[in-house]
């Protein structure tokens, strides 16, 4: 895989990703903030469907011996603190690191500032990483998975997760059909809270 090939594949995959994010409306600030305020459930539906699909296809590829898994290492404090900061940033940005690019693409002007802030945050983290390393990334259990914790195999857990998620999604959809969450201008804006 040459660098140029990787870039071309990335552009094509990104274009499909971005097209789909736009069609799903999940990139809308109204969807993200609405989800975090429990007014709107489209974000959770897209997210859980993508996780379930990913689990099934990665389990299939893994079953055929085509891929090896790459779980990230667990560092308890880093996962908790980083997760909290990421979540707070997502609520205030009305975007996550991937969907902010979709916002830029459709012309949301504030997303340009989110993007610049993100680049600054990543660069400052780069400077801070050597100092944070002994505090946050020094000791941990390593790249542990639920296979290690339960003794079950990956296909069993991945397909089990997919089945549970499909059940959750069916229940969510029965409770709240997705079209009712689209809002006035397919932006998740459901009007002022009654």
């Amino acid at each position: 895989m040459s660098l140029l090939q990787a870039i071309l594949i990335g552009l094509v995959m990104g274009a499909v990703f971005g097209f789909t994010l736009e069609k799903s409306r999940v990139f809308e600030p109204g969807m993200i903030v609405g989800q975090m305020q429990f007014r709107n459930f489209i974000m959770l539906k897209v997210f859980l469907t993508a996780v379930a699909t990913g689990a099934v296809v990665i389990a299939a590829l893994h079953g055929f011996g085509l891929v090896k898994l790459g779980p990230k290492a667990t560092f308890y404090a880093a996962d908790v603190i980083g997760g909290l900061m990421l979540g707070a940033g997502i609520a205030l940005a009305g975007a996550c690191p991937g969907t902010v690019l979709a916002q830029v693409g459709v012309g949301y002007r504030d997303a340009i500032f989110t993007l610049l802030g993100g680049l600054a945050g990543a660069a400052v983290f780069g400077y801070a990483e050597p100092a944070l390393k002994p505090l946050l990334f020094a000791s941990g259990p390593g790249k542990i998975t639920f296979m290690d914790l339960t003794g079950l195999s990956y296909p069993v857990l991945a397909l089990g997760l997919a089945v549970v998620l499909v059940g959750v999604l069916v229940a969510l959809e029965v409770w709240r059909p997705w079209r009712t969450d689209l809002g006035r201008d397919v932006d998740g804006d459901l009007g002022p809270t009654r």
């Binding site: 975090m36 379930a52 290492a73 996962d79 900061m85 707070a88 983290f125 780069g126 990483e129």
Partner: protein, 192 residues
Amino acid sequence: MSLPSSFPSATHPTATGGILHALRVKAWSPYAAGILIGLLQVPAFLLIETALGASSSYVTVGGLLASLVDPMAGRIDYVAKHIALTPKNWWQVALVVGIALGAFASMRISGARRHAISPVWQRALGTSSPVMRYALAFGAGFLMLFGARIADGCTSGHGLSGMAQMAVSSTLAVTFMFVGGIATALLVLRRI
């Protein structure tokens, strides 16, 4: 009773017509979109030997920009590793650039044009000042990426990919991402 003249073509749509219609509509079902996004793991794993992710591309671009201004930045191991001309690093940068292009194309085809700032922000922030929104967006972006790099992943890398691979780190990070997001949206923002 006579049927509308468009009746036969409406009941017998061609495959091409169906696809064109799907490209032109403003919204897809979240399930169709989620399945398509999940399927993107296949080329990611098979062609790039990695999983979907977005936040490390910010270190690649942000770190490269920093190293142009300050050559010392490029000597930090973490930054050097991310700005190296490897297929994985630059595949992810291309992926996020592609996201902007794909979203732009979809918006142009469907005509779902947006205001400069989503109308929900006026209610969430209690002000319609663009400067306030831009300042908050910059700070939010900073917090989001600083947090994602501490956690070593974001909604894509930990959420979509790590959870599908049954990683403990990802499940923990995503749980606290929602805790942080919900707490902030309920306590800091006004109800939209």
